[in-house]
Symmetry: C2
Subunit: 288 residues, 2 copies
Amino acid sequence: MSTFAEQSRADIEQALARDTGEGYDRIFEAARYSLLAGGKRLRPMIVLAFCRLCGGQTAQALSFACALEMIHTYSLIHDDLPCMDDDDLRRGRPSCHRAFDEVTAVLAGDGLLTAAFETAAEAPLPAETVLAGIRCLGRAAGMNGMIAGQVLDLGAEHRQIELDALRLLQDLKTGCLLRAACELGCIAAGRQDADTLAAARRYGEKLGLAFQIQDDILDIEGDAAALGKTVGKDARDEKSTFPALLGLEDCRALVRELTDEAVAALPGAPADRAFLTELAYSLVGRTN
Amino acid sequence: MSTFAEQSRADIEQALARDTGEGYDRIFEAARYSLLAGGKRLRPMIVLAFCRLCGGQTAQALSFACALEMIHTYSLIHDDLPCMDDDDLRRGRPSCHRAFDEVTAVLAGDGLLTAAFETAAEAPLPAETVLAGIRCLGRAAGMNGMIAGQVLDLGAEHRQIELDALRLLQDLKTGCLLRAACELGCIAAGRQDADTLAAARRYGEKLGLAFQIQDDILDIEGDAAALGKTVGKDARDEKSTFPALLGLEDCRALVRELTDEAVAALPGAPADRAFLTELAYSLVGRTN
């Protein structure tokens, strides 16, 4: 991993551990159990990388980065609930409701979603910029964003959907937060011009789709130990997947193509784009 | 009801119907089902009343008022879930997970919590003021506020707790949002001085406790039809209540005493305090 990635990860882990704070023990324990369980930290890393690409510093973007990771984590906790995907394993450990109980998992998710907005609201930036970040977070996580993706996803179980419907579903479920990660980095750096934000969104959109297709491939070919989660669950849940619709070979080609498009969309000088380029390509070869 | 209450209620209902917007149908339908189910609108009404008390206009405070009601509604939806209080009836109709299903109820709650912060972020106020409102909302709803109250509440089932523990529990579970309602009205009006906010919090704290004790009394004496929710459920769940600890007569006296204290805490000129005074006393005589 590059120095930027190493340093960013350390900054993110430290800030996440600090921002969840302390209080009524069981809920904080459950929230921290899920939030501090490792994970790739892909979204907060992208926030920091886009901030740097736009000339900003890590300290400017860290609150937004943590807020986004909290939203991502809350969505995983609720997604794993018995009434949702009913998943026992997450990031290599029992999922939150298995490690604690269902009530605690619901409340820990609610708590992390709330903490995300509290954390974003404390960003050391001009008030207008903080508000722009909060609006971006809300749009991405809300009922026309990630939650809409969850709804479509649950509606698509036990039946086959068309490729366009699957792309929309994944664009909402996974793409929204990845696009927000790119945008939040720009916003934190004080770059809110339409061109920069559009380029950032394009990178996030292409990368998000590539990431999701790769996820589907890994669910078929991957190793549960390396992935840290249940494999073969798409087939078990009779979910529509890209490999089911396009075949594994075409999926691999599409991941490469989307990754190229993501990289081509990056703004800025080549040297500054190095980390986000490397990150995109590393996803193609990833095993987790 | 006073003209202010009537007008405020109309403003609140209209804004809530607008702010939830449209989108992926089932989730919006579920969110609107719960949000627009009537209810006393006590919290948003208090936001508007404190804004007026501090010299502001309804339009300044409406976004915060709606945001707070969305948070209250999301908490009711999640609170009614099978893994939480498992309640079938809310505001005179089937609770959200009964009218829809459990998954939809979880996501509608998540969606409303997110929408609350989006709505607050659109308040037509200076950015610093909007941020102060968002911070107030997050603090009240978060893991050291309302969610902590939920945790204590669930931990207090099937066992008797002491009066102090019950007061803390209720202060967190109900008091936090009521205090936030008072504070948000002041903030929206541009009054953020420590004295005004402390007085507002004191009103909210006393009123919140009076309201909760009255709620416990109604759970014993009330009529399910008038209340629009299940009665006798505290006894069924073996919950610690104020009447169980203090007896009904002492509870009635305490409600009156707390209401007097709430009214005495109100800042401003007597004429301006009329609505909030009336509101406090109307809670003592309420049947729902």
